[in-house]
Symmetry: C2
Amino acid sequence: MKETLSSISQRLGISTATISRVLSGNAKKYRISEKTAAIVTAEASRCHYIPSLAAQSLRTNKTKTIGLLMPKLSNPYFADISSAIISEANSKGYTAIIADTMENVEVQKDCISALLSRKVDGIIAAPCGNDSKIFKEINARIAPVVLIDRYFEDATISYVTSNNYKGAFDATSLLINNGHKNIVCIQGDEASLPNKKRVGGYLDALSTAGLQDNARILGNAFSIQNGYLETKLLLSSSSNRPSAIFALSYTILLGVIKAIKEASLVIPDDISIISFDDNISLDYMTPSISRVGQPTEEMGQLAAKMLFNKLNDNDTNELVSHIELSTELLIRKSVIKNNGADEDKDKDKNEDK
Amino acid sequence: MKETLSSISQRLGISTATISRVLSGNAKKYRISEKTAAIVTAEASRCHYIPSLAAQSLRTNKTKTIGLLMPKLSNPYFADISSAIISEANSKGYTAIIADTMENVEVQKDCISALLSRKVDGIIAAPCGNDSKIFKEINARIAPVVLIDRYFEDATISYVTSNNYKGAFDATSLLINNGHKNIVCIQGDEASLPNKKRVGGYLDALSTAGLQDNARILGNAFSIQNGYLETKLLLSSSSNRPSAIFALSYTILLGVIKAIKEASLVIPDDISIISFDDNISLDYMTPSISRVGQPTEEMGQLAAKMLFNKLNDNDTNELVSHIELSTELLIRKSVIKNNGADEDKDKDKNEDK
DNA sequence: ATATTTAGAACAAACGTTTGAGCAAAAATA
DNA sequence: TATTTTTGCTCAAACGTTTGTTCTAAATAT
């Protein structure tokens, strides 16, 4: 029933060594005659031989498996990325095992142990927390690591991310070009690098327009809750209501929308909104939400390709690449011209001083 | 550097057999003295021994791995289910490898081969297509299979699904109780069992209210496109415009919303809407969308538990269980009382005849 | 004709576990 | 005391590959 090298070997009268070499494509390298090779391949496919991965792994110390460390698979952003990575891996004969850290550093540790005990050949991770040590350690001594979305600034680990800075710059600029001067930014996890970059883009866009004094950055988590509470708070003080809000993630945006609705304000008439992250549902909201889209599919594919490069090129194994993919500004209906509220702005400005 | 049974064996002067038995928790079963057991466990944890999964698999023919066959990981519904399964698996010491069939029967075949060549201990699948043969075959002769969401009606393979019939019945009843008599149902893949059940619930709810003659079932795919086109078509003929639409999935719903917006109609004033599938974004639409939620997390957990039961209980290995979990009617703002359009209804009815 | 190279393949040793069988010493029984 | 049972462990064979070494026959060179 179960075909192995030796079952074929017996039937054919050819040694397992020869069969193994033929089947792994090393026929000429070991000068196996074309005739023998042909016989072997024919028989192998005839009896549907499937090599035992366990035996191969045991012998070669390679598992043809990559580990995927994701913070939250139920987050569509990471689901999309994962999906792309998995496809790319499968097409290269690798399989991916996913670990969901649930944005918890402790869980992340367990997940890493699990992946390592599985002897994965490499890891693609969107790390949570700021401790780069484990990842550097793994990358240097155990298995190559590629970071995705989130990364560490010291240049030892490869990563692929999107141009968070420019994305945020563009989004803010869109608001500014529509006459908005009082733009609040609701951020996510302050410690995460993508968040820092986005905040940087927001600030620089304001500065470029001479509006640096108007910068207001609120919040501290990539969650609906955070978006909701900060907006609620923001709108409760009638003194300095912004004309536009920039939500730094899809989840934050949802919270913002909820709070705005509860305040009986209308987007975009009363307040303009723009967000980071693309999500199909944003096109179906009323109004549809302008946003900065990240190329999740490309990011996933690229991360996988980078990892496979590392796995194959033993010579250039110390190549570290840092790639930033462009974001895309998706203009919908949630941003409109700021209609003559400039007086308010100036008044606000004066009040600030 | 790398610890193995024999490295420990040498250091301790205890045979690998004994160490193996202690570490796999079979100490008493093989009458290993408590003293020896203590020494072994202490040393194992001291040197951070990690068993080689490859060697274990090779020897035992078990991989401690389950395969997850999903139609589309980028669909939040399946992402949620997958997430739950993965967590449950990890907590039991298993890892999951995901294969994304992209709703394509051919791809599904390849994915199955891939999973089998990985020698997964079991498979949890949301199959696409209607061919139950492969799954029965696998379940009977290779590895236990548990189906999730989609299933086959002949009783040989275990499955867990939600009560699609009752969910649809409830949703339709909500519309009826709000005075709606002209309710259109836009369905997904006609061949899929969940879809059939939902349609059944819709029809029976109408019948119960004596409205069976008003039944209208349109469409044929779980896609935005399908929801959009069918609604577009539906609204273009002004003659028999429904007062409510029941979308049989989240994707269909998005299409419906788009078409309604383009027709300059307002939900729920002009038309009431209800949908199958829960998705957080539905709470943030204007208006928020009433819907039938499925307990994705429970479904995933349960499927995993069912599979592990099969993997462990060798005696009752022929236990097949079919579980239906309750759906939840989430009432929001997209359904309102049908205000006196009864004349229209009756008129429509007459026109129909 | 002898010595050397080459082609083509087989041998056998790992890789790290698990597990049935076996064996000596200690304990219990007769 | 002699026999049986129990206790506590070791032996060694598998599991299915890969791969360095070796071997034989044929081909080439001297």
